[in-house]
């Protein structure tokens, strides 16, 4: 789906990763790990002139320094694109907020996403997983990305928001436009945001006369730091954020975990025999296959890990590369499902820690547990092709697997 746009002339194939990296290059999309290793050996922070100028920190230390430095690095733009869209149009607090606006915006969203709140949602997610598996288990094969890993977060977040789970296809379309297609085509961003806003405006309007006990109503009833209710545009912004941030990301995390387990029968068998390893395995999948790379915009000149960083440039804040830094993680390139020390940064570091991290962990755990219960033995389909998403969020978008009698 992204191959055709990668061929556009402004993104020629990369020949010099150190001075001209491009996170939309097909080789990065397919297998970024050796590229990050090469760059990390060269310099903790590299630069490209592509995307109107962008830095890439590749060490855990450099990523951490930037994540904690909200004075020199702004979150007003969090996706690296060919263009710099006007900042106000796409504001989605708190992810696009800096201090002091950030904290009150984030505190509005935190209570519905605590681990206790997620426990209440867990039975529904378990049922969703089994409903999905019921649809394909008799076939002995499926595209796990299209039939399973995608729908778990879509249906879970729809359930939380109190909107029809069947509207999930719409969400997936908008998110693909915003996170992938818009890197090279700004009109996709505008169109998707307009459609999404119109969709949610209808749901907000309906709840003004028919209040519900779902997350949309919770946001409509929330008060800002001065005790005033949020206006419709603030509620819309939060809903856009939850949808954009809550679907591709967890889709990718569940998909990468299943891809690993399809490739690694020893880990699969061990997880089935020792289910108590599930929490550490989930953290290790999050470390080794972190799906999300956020961005920052340099506001003031500074140095990061000794490297000069100049305003006007973006920063690709690669938590995935940080999590593969051997200076931070012994055997960083190995997946160790019982890893004891694992301060991974898959959900970010500092004030922008992912609001939905507890939701993502719960969905990953339940989706892998239910899959392994029903389909303990599976492998990649040698006749199919695994494809990966491009850009901001990395995970399998086609994951053909065989199981049961076809395995």
């Amino acid at each position: 789906m992204s191959d055709s746009v990668s061929m556009m002339p402004e993104h020629p194939p990369v020949t010099d990763w150190v001075n001209d990296f491009d996170h939309t290059d097909p080789r990065w999309t397919e297998n970024p790990f050796p590229i990050w290793d090469e760059l990390r050996n060269e310099c903790p922070v590299v630069h490209t002139k592509r995307f109107l100028g962008c830095y890439l920190p590749t060490t855990y230390q450099a990523v951490k320094e930037i994540a904690y430095d909200t004075e020199h690095f702004s979150s007003r733009r969090v996706i690296v694109r060919d263009v710099r869209p006007e900042v106000t149009r796409n504001a989605a607090p708190p992810i696009t907020s800096d201090p002091p606006e950030h904290k009150p915006a984030k505190q509005l969203l935190l209570p519905p996403f605590t681990p206790d709140a997620m426990k209440k949602l867990e039975p529904r997610v378990r049922a969703i997983c089994n409903e999905l598996i019921d649809e394909f288990i008799a076939d002995g094969q499926c595209d796990a990305a299209a039939r399973y890993t995608k729908h778990v977060p879509v249906r879970a977040i729809a359930h939380m928001l109190g909107i029809p789970e069947k509207d999930g296809d719409l969400f997936v379309k908008w998110i693909h436009m915003i996170l992938e297609l818009s890197i090279k085509n700004e009109s996709m961003l505008v169109q998707a945001v307009q459609e999404m806003s119109a969709y949610f405006a209808g749901h907000i309007e309906h709840r003004k006369t028919h209040p519900t006990d779902d997350l949309i109503s919770t946001l409509m009833k929330a008060k800002d730091k001065d005790g005033n209710p949020l206006d419709d545009s603030q509620v819309l912004g939060s809903l856009r954020l939850l949808l954009i941030a809550g679907i591709d990301t967890t889709w990718s995390a569940i998909g990468s975990s299943l891809w690993h387990l399809a490739n690694t029968p020893a880990d699969r068998d061990r997880l089935i025999a020792e289910p108590e390893l599930m929490p550490s395995a989930i953290e290790e999948f999050l470390r080794a296959y972190s799906p999300v790379t956020m961005a920052r915009e340099v506001m003031k000149e500074t140095t990061i890990s000794g490297c000069p960083v100049k305003p006007g440039n973006m920063v690709l804040l690669s938590f995935p590369a940080a999590n593969r830094d051997p200076a931070m993680f012994p055997d960083a390139d190995k997946v160790v499902i019982d890893r004891k020390e694992n301060r991974h940064a898959a959900f970010g570091l500092g004030i922008h820690r992912c609001v939905g991290s507890n939701l993502a962990r719960m969905e990953m755990t339940v989706a892998i547990e239910e899959w392994l219960k029903r389909i303990p033995d599976f492998k990649l389909d040698p006749a199919g092709k695994v494809t990966w998403s491009e850009g901001t969020v990395r995970g399998p978008r086609q994951l053909p697997v065989l199981f049961g009698k076809k395995n």
Partner: protein, 69 residues
Amino acid sequence: MSGKLKIRVDQDKCQGHARCKSLAPELFELDEFGNAHEVGDGSVPAGLEDKAWLAQTNCPEIAIEVQEE
């Protein structure tokens, strides 16, 4: 390690990753925003020392202090 342990969550550093609560639910509690606090005065009951260290070594924000008394 023979001495008693005492833990403390630095509220300026904690960002609510909740790794400690998952690894050592007996030692940490979360507030309404999901940020962690040590249970009681932070004294680690005998037998839970390993969990205290595990929580400390997995906190992404290095927000947990463990002291031997």
